[in-house]
């Protein structure tokens, strides 16, 4: 970057280099967040900041195979872009027949061919949120680029798999994806993050989604990184009139993981629905930070996040709903429920509402509970052994979230994961 800086003194480098430099300077000035920052209060970053990460470079990892990728991310049958260490890996990817009117390509390809298309994304004020988003601005070179033109409907889910293979070298992996849904278009997008056990790396990802009038995107984020990895994600959404966006987040892996969602409801009658489950165990930290900004009138937002916390696992729900002056007719609700399976597990839940107008309907609530002893006894008196009974009750708690996954293979995959984690009693109800 010092080279960049030198050149900058002499001539115009173009908007992208300017933006990257500005982002780097922003980090230099503002530093990394600490627990003194409201939005980072509960999540210790010491572990991440202590590691001298190196930026990932393109090229196949030494151990990655199609089999490993398929195991980590259930194949949904449709178009599938695979990124290894944040860079597109054509050999593992598949662009099957897509309807006309949809572009599915990579950020690197767009940067090479027509970089100005990305100016509204990579060129925006860097560090607007925090240092990690700014770092992504600095390092992002590849990711998915999806553009749905007017009224294009893609039935098959578009799958984005971010697989890491970083043996021996702690890499900073900085994918950046851009999803543009023009008026009346519709698609389902599934992001999966995974890697190889024992690898130490940090995924620092930004995904931006822009929905025009009446566009509809169903989005899934499945975080299943190895427990030696770190994962920091920012999902940034902008919604125009009557658009609909739904995102379901599943947090299973990572040592420290943060899934941040920011939604700007700037068109009237837009609807957003955010769900999440997080299942920290061992010493895992799973942080959900959500900011829903109601700017336009008559918009609706729903949030439902459920956590099951075991061992010394630590869960965080830090959700804020902002209802701006004039956003009359807002209907916003926010719910967070947690089940503690261990005395040493911890949860910090902080649902927040800030309302600057009168004509609104807003609710929020949080609950933290334990396995209900009476229910456990009831099941045992019917002959269901203790561990199986516990599993059944845990599964009952998260089943609602599993059921909300509309993609059957993904739902089955998650159901199997949850069952494996919480014992044989947590088989999915068949009847």
């Amino acid at each position: 970057m010092s080279e960049l800086q030198r050149e900058r003194n002499g001539r115009d480098l173009g908007w992208l280099a300017e933006a990257r430099l500005n982002a780097l300077e922003w980090v230099g000035t503002n530093g990394f967040p600490s627990r003194k920052d409201e939005d980072w209060k509960y999540t210790a970053l010491d572990g991440i900041l202590a590691i001298p990460f190196e930026a990932a470079v393109p090229g196949p990892g030494p151990r990655v195979t199609a089999e490993l990728i398929n195991k980590a991310a259930v194949d949904l049958g449709g178009p599938r872009l695979v990124f290894v260490n944040g860079h597109f890996a054509a050999e593992f990817s598949r662009i099957s027949t897509l309807p006309p009117g949809v572009v599915v390509t990579t950020l690197a390809a767009v940067l090479a061919a027509s970089p100005d298309q990305l100016k509204p994304f990579l060129g925006h004020t860097p560090g607007e949120h925090h240092a990690f988003a700014a770092f992504n601005d600095v390092f992002a070179e590849d990711g998915a680029y999806i553009h749905l033109t007017n009224d294009t409907i893609v039935d098959e889910p578009i799958q984005l798999v971010f697989f890491s293979d970083t043996e021996g070298v702690p890499l900073l992996i900085s994918p950046r994806s851009v999803i543009i849904a023009d008026s009346g278009s519709r698609a389902t997008i599934v992001e999966t993050y995974a890697g190889i056990d024992n690898d130490v790396y940090c995924t620092n990802v930004v995904t931006e989604v822009v929905l025009a009038e009446n566009a509809q995107i169903d989005h899934y984020a499945v975080q299943n990184e190895p427990i030696t990895a770190f994962h920091l994600a920012l999902l940034d959404i902008r919604q125009a009139r009557a658009s609909r966006f739904a995102s379901r987040s599943v947090m299973l892996g990572s040592s420290v993981a943060r899934h941040e969602v920011r939604v700007l409801l700037e068109g009237v009658e837009a609807v957003v629905s955010l769900d999440g489950i997080y299942l920290p165990q061992g010493e895992q930290v799973h942080d959900n930070t959500i900011f829903v900004d109601h700017v336009a009138t008559n918009c609706t937002s729903h949030q439902l996040y459920k956590g099951v916390l075991d061992d010394r696992g630590h869960g965080i729900f830090n959700g804020q709903i902002m209802v701006r002056h004039g956003a009359d007719g807002t209907d916003a609700n926010q719910k967070n429920k947690n089940l503690l399976l261990s005395d040493r597990a911890q949860v910090d839940t902080r649902p927040r509402l800030e309302i600057y107008t009168d004509e609104v309907k807003c609710t929020h609530g949080a609950a933290v509970g334990q396995i209900h002893d009476e229910a456990l006894l009831y099941l045992r008196t019917r002959g269901i052994p203790l561990e199986e009974a516990r599993g059944l009750l845990v599964y009952a708690f998260v089943q609602e979230m599993v059921d909300r996954i509309e993609l059957e293979p993904l739902r089955a995959w998650l159901a199997a994961r949850v069952s494996a984690r919480f014992g044989s009693g947590s088989r999915r109800a068949q009847l």
């Binding site: 209900h372 006894l377 099941l379 008196t381 002959g383 269901i384 009952a396 089943q399 009847l431």
Partner: protein, 254 residues
Amino acid sequence: MLKIEELHASIDNKEILRGVNLDLKAGEVHAIMGPNGSGKSTLASVLIGREGYEISGSATYEGQDLLALSPEERAAAGVFLAFQHPVEIPGVGNMYFMRTALNSLRRQRGEEELDAVDFLTLAQERMKLVEMDQTFMSRAVNEGFSGGEKKRNEILQMAILEPKLAILDETDSGLDIDALRVVANGVNALRSEGRTMLVITHHQRLLDYIVPDFVHVMAAGQIVRSGDKDLAHELEANGYEGLTPRSAKVGATV
């Protein structure tokens, strides 16, 4: 089938059962009556293995020490409790729950598990006993059930799990006369030579429908009188007044 000798149980240093003795033989129906707080429900809790009690004395079930078994082992051995207050379990389907329970019992007994279709056939047949329709089965266990529906659901579980020793704890409480009749009919249909029942009730009314072979009166943690079904009518006429435990000292602390 079940022999209880000098059974004592305390919770939080408060003695609730103060030496209960009972001998239940196969196929018999025993009723335990008594005023509130006499220890009837505690006896049921101790017999099915609820935690938190300090226990002494013995309960021998088919030759084995019942008190040494976990609740699920007791269930596998054929002990069942129809709860006074069945718990609601959101998220667990009633049908799935009962099939899991039956298959857990069968597995512990080394029997083959029933698949969904075979179980459905069995459940539909048993549902007739308590006049339940299939909508109950697709709901979560007891969730949003009325008092009567919960009690019918208990008897349905009994019909499906086919215990050897069924303990019915205040199964009549909160039931109107029609619901009581349905529940009692279900219980009566399940009476058999090999099945012993222990019917705990505060009111004689239930015993008009489920006619017991023996009636015991419990007061202050002990069985203070035993007799045949006429004892229930006597109690109905005279109340529990005058029935005192063997030890006056014990009675005085109640």
